[in-house]
C-alpha cells in the first residue's frame, strides 16, 4: 500500500475530501455572512439556523411531499430566501441606524427561536437523508475511491461560490451592490433603490446558507443543532479571512476545511479546536484578517 508520512494514501485522500466538503460549507456560509455584512452592517447570527432550516426543509419536503433532492436544491433556497426577506422587512430594517451590536443580538434571538421551534418538533436526534440515486456509489480514481456525493458537494459549492463572485464583481447588478456597500446615500442619489437591494441581499445571503444546508443534508445528520455548532466555526473563519473580499472568504473557508481534515488524521485531539487556534495566531500578526482591510 502506498503511504505518505506513515499514513495510507487512501486515508489521507479520504480526509482531504472530507475536509474539502466541510470547507465548502464554511466557504458558502462565510461568503453569505460577508455579503450580508457588506450591505446591512449586521453579523447574521441566524446564519447557522438558516443552514439548518435548509437541511430540514429538504428533509421535510422529501418525507412529507415526496419532493426529490434536485427540486429541493432549487425550491428550498427560494423558500428560505423569501423568509429572509420577510425577516428583513419586519425586524432588521429598524436596526440600520443603531450600533451594529444590536443586529448581532437580534439575529441571535432569531437563531434561538428558529432552533427552538425545530427542536420542539423533532428533538435533538438527527434524521437521516438518503443520498439521491444519481449520486450514489464511488468512483475509482486509481489512487483512491471517491464517493460521488462528496465530489458533487465540492463541485456544486465551488460553482455557487464562483457564480456569486461573478455576480458581485463582474455584473452591473454587482456594481450597484458594491457601490451601495461603499456609500449607500450617494448610490441612492443616483436613482438606485438601495432599501430593496438591502432586502434582496439578506434574502440572497440566507438562501445561500440554506443551499449549503440542502447539500449537507445527506452528509451530516439533519438535526436542529447542526447550524449553531457550525456558525461559531464560521465566525472564526470570517475573523481569519477578514470580511473584505469574496474570494478571500472562499479560499479561507476551503483551506481551513482541509486543515481541519488533516488535523483529524495526524493529531485528532486538536481537530475540534484547530480553526480557533489558527484564528488566535492570525489575530496576533494580522488583526484585520488575511484578506481584510483595517477599518
Amino acid at each position: 500500500m502506498t503511504t505518505l508520512f506513515e499514513v495510507p494514501l487512501s486515508a489521507l485522500m479520504g480526509q482531504l475530501m472530507l475536509g474539502l466538503v466541510n470547507g465548502s460549507f464554511y466557504a458558502i456560509l462565510s461568503l453569505g455572512l460577508a455579503v450580508i455584512f457588506g450591505m446591512l452592517r449586521i453579523i447574521n447570527f441566524a446564519h447557522g439556523a438558516f443552514f439548518m432550516m435548509g437541511a430540514f426543509f429538504s428533509w421535510m419536503s422529501l418525507n412529507y411531499f415526496g419532493i426529490s433532492y434536485w427540486w429541493s436544491l432549487l425550491l428550498v433556497p427560494l423558500a428560505v430566501g423569501v423568509i429572509g426577506v420577510v425577516i428583513e422587512r419586519s425586524f432588521l430594517q429598524w436596526l440600520y441606524k443603531l450600533d451594529h451590536l444590536y443586529g448581532l443580538l437580534l439575529t441571535f434571538g432569531l437563531a434561538l427561536i428558529i432552533e427552538g421551534i425545530f427542536r420542539n418538533e423533532y428533538g435533538v436526534s438527527g434524521q437521516p437523508y438518503a443520498v439521491p440515486d444519481a449520486l450514489k456509489g464511488a468512483m475509482n480514481l486509481g489512487f483512491m475511491y471517491l464517493p460521488v456525493y462528496r465530489g458533487w458537494v465540492i463541485v456544486a459549492s465551488l460553482a455557487v461560490c464562483f457564480l456569486t463572485w461573478f455576480m458581485v464583481e463582474r455584473t452591473r447588478l454587482g456594481s450597484y451592490l458594491r457601490a451601495a456597500t461603499e456609500n449607500p446615500a450617494l448610490t441612492q442619489a443616483f436613482g438606485i433603490n438601495v432599501p430593496v437591494m438591502v432586502m434582496l441581499t439578506y434574502g440572497f445571503g440566507v438562501a445561500l446558507a440554506s443551499f449549503a444546508g440542502v447539500l449537507a443534508a445527506p452528509v451530516l445528520q439533519v438535526s436542529p443543532m447542526m447550524g449553531s455548532q457550525l456558525i461559531i466555526v464560521v465566525f472564526a473563519v470570517v475573523v481569519i479571512g477578514g470580511m473584505g473580499s469574496i474570494l478571500g472568504a472562499i479560499i479561507t473557508g476551503l483551506s481551513l476545511g482541509v486543515i481541519e481534515g488533516l488535523a483529524k488524521l495526524f493529531y485528532p485531539e486538536v481537530s475540534a479546536t484547530i480553526v480557533f487556534i489558527i484564528m488566535a495566531i492570525v489575530l496576533l500578526f494580522r488583526p484585520a484578517g488575511l484578506f481584510g482591510r483595517a477599518e
Binding site: I43, L101, A111, E115, G116, I232, A236, L283, L284
Partner: protein, 343 residues
C-alpha cells in the same frame, strides 16, 4: 439617578437581600445572586466600556470547574477554592483579552465567542472535567473552618456577601477616574487616545476585571450547586447573560440584577412546562428588547422618573412665572429645555 435615590436603592437592596431566604427557596435565591453578579461583571464591559463579549460564560464556567475541582480533589476549603477560581478566570481573561482587544465592535464579539468555543472543546476533551458528566458531588465543607456551609441559610448569607462585595467593587470602579475613562472609550475611543490615554490597556484591564468577577460568580455557583458541567461553559450560557443584562438595562447599576432575577425565575418556572420551547421564549424577549426596549427595565424606569421630574420642574417654573411675570419667559424656557434633554 440622583444620589438620594441611589442610596435608597442600596438600602432596599440590602434589606431585601437579608430577608429573601425566609420568603423564597434559598437555592433559587442563590442562583439569582450568582447570575446577577455574572451579569454585573458582563455589564462592566458592555455597558461601561462598550465591548460585547459573546463568550463570557467561559470565565464563569472555567471558574466553576476550578473551584469544583480544587475543593473536591485537592480538598481546598470553600474560600480558597473560590479564590483559586477567580485567579484562574482572571488569567484566562488576560490571555483572551490580549487577543480580543486587537479588534473592535462586531469582531470583538465574534472573537470572544470563538475563543470561548475553543475552551469549550478543551473542557470536553481533557480528563479532569469529567466530560459530559461534569464534576459532581463537590462537598460544601465549612467556611474558615467553623461556619458550616451545608446549611443553606449559612451558605445564602455567604453568597449574598460575595454578591454585595462584587456589586460594590463594580460600583467603585465605575465611579473612579478609571471608570470615567472606560465610559469615554465607549463614547469615543479615538478621542481618548488623542488625549494621551492608552485605551488598549484600559480595555484590557476592564476585560480582566470583568472576567475575574464572572469567575467569582462561577466559583461561587459551583459551591452552591456542588457541581460544574459543560453547560456552564456553553455559548447558550453566554447568550443568557447577554439577555439578562439587555433586559435589565445595559449600562445601568441595578439592571443586571433585575434582568438576572427575571430570567432565572422564568427559567425555573417554565423549564418543566414548556421544555424545548424555553429558548424560543428567550429569543422573543431578545427581539422585543432590541426593537422596542433598548434601555431595558432599569433604563426605562430611570428615563420615566427623569421625565416626571422634568415635568414637575416645568410645572413649578410655570407657576413661578405666573407669580413673577417679568421672569416668566426665561423660567419656562428652562423647563422645556430640561424636558428636551431627557426625552
Amino acid at each position: 439617578m440622583s444620589s438620594r435615590t441611589r442610596i435608597l436603592g442600596y438600602g432596599l437592596l440590602l434589606i431585601c437581600g437579608a430577608i429573601v431566604p425566609f420568603v423564597i427557596y434559598p437555592i433559587l435565591a442563590m442562583k439569582v445572586l450568582c447570575f446577577a453578579l455574572f451579569a454585573c461583571a458582563f455589564n462592566l464591559l458592555i455597558g461601561y466600556t462598550g465591548l460585547l463579549s459573546f463568550g463570557h460564560a467561559i470565565f464563569f464556567g472555567t471558574a466553576a470547574y476550578v473551584s469544583a475541582y480544587s475543593i473536591k480533589v485537592w480538598g481546598f476549603s470553600p474560600e480558597l477554592g473560590i479564590l483559586t477560581s477567580v485567579a484562574a478566570a482572571a488569567v484566562l481573561g488576560l490571555g483572551f483579552g490580549l487577543l480580543a482587544i486587537r479588534c473592535a465592535g462586531i469582531y470583538f464579539a465574534m472573537i470572544t465567542l470563538a475563543l470561548a468555543q475553543m475552551m469549550y472543546f478543551v473542557f470536553l476533551q481533557v480528563p479532569f472535567t469529567g466530560g459530559e458528566d461534569g464534576l459532581q458531588g463537590v462537598p460544601r465543607r465549612s467556611l474558615f473552618g467553623f461556619i458550616d456551609l451545608s446549611d443553606d441559610m449559612h451558605l445564602y448569607y455567604l453568597v449574598f456577601a460575595i454578591f454585595v462585595f462584587g456589586f460594590w467593587l463594580i460600583h467603585r470602579v465605575i465611579q473612579s477616574p478609571f471608570g470615567q475613562i472606560l465610559k469615554a472609550i465607549r463614547e469615543n475611543e479615538s478621542r481618548v487616545i488623542s488625549l494621551g490615554y492608552q485605551a488598549a490597556r484600559y480595555k484590557l484591564l476592564a476585560f480582566v476585571l470583568s472576567a475575574a468577577l464572572a469567575g467569582l460568580a462561577g466559583g461561587t455557583k459551583a459551591v452552591v450547586f456542588q457541581f460544574a458541567t459543560l453547560s456552564d461553559v456553553h455559548w447558550q450560557t453566554s447568550g443568557e447573560v447577554v439577555l439578562m443584562t439587555l433586559l435589565g438595562g445595559l449600562g445601568t447599576v441595578f439592571g443586571p440584577l433585575i434582568g438576572a432575577a427575571i430570567v432565572v425565575t422564568l427559567q425555573n418556572a417554565l423549564a418543566d412546562k414548556v421544555g424545548a420551547l424555553l429558548p424560543v421564549i428567550m429569543g422573543v424577549i431578545f427581539i422585543v428588547c432590541v426593537l422596542v426596549f433598548r434601555r431595558g427595565i432599569a433604563g426605562e424606569f430611570t428615563a420615566f422618573c427623569q421625565s416626571k421630574l422634568a415635568e414637575r420642574r416645568a410645572d413649578a417654573n410655570h407657576r413661578k412665572s405666573h407669580g413673577l411675570s417679568c421672569k416668566g419667559h426665561g423660567a419656562s424656557g428652562e423647563g422645556v429645555s430640561a424636558k428636551e434633554a431627557n426625552p
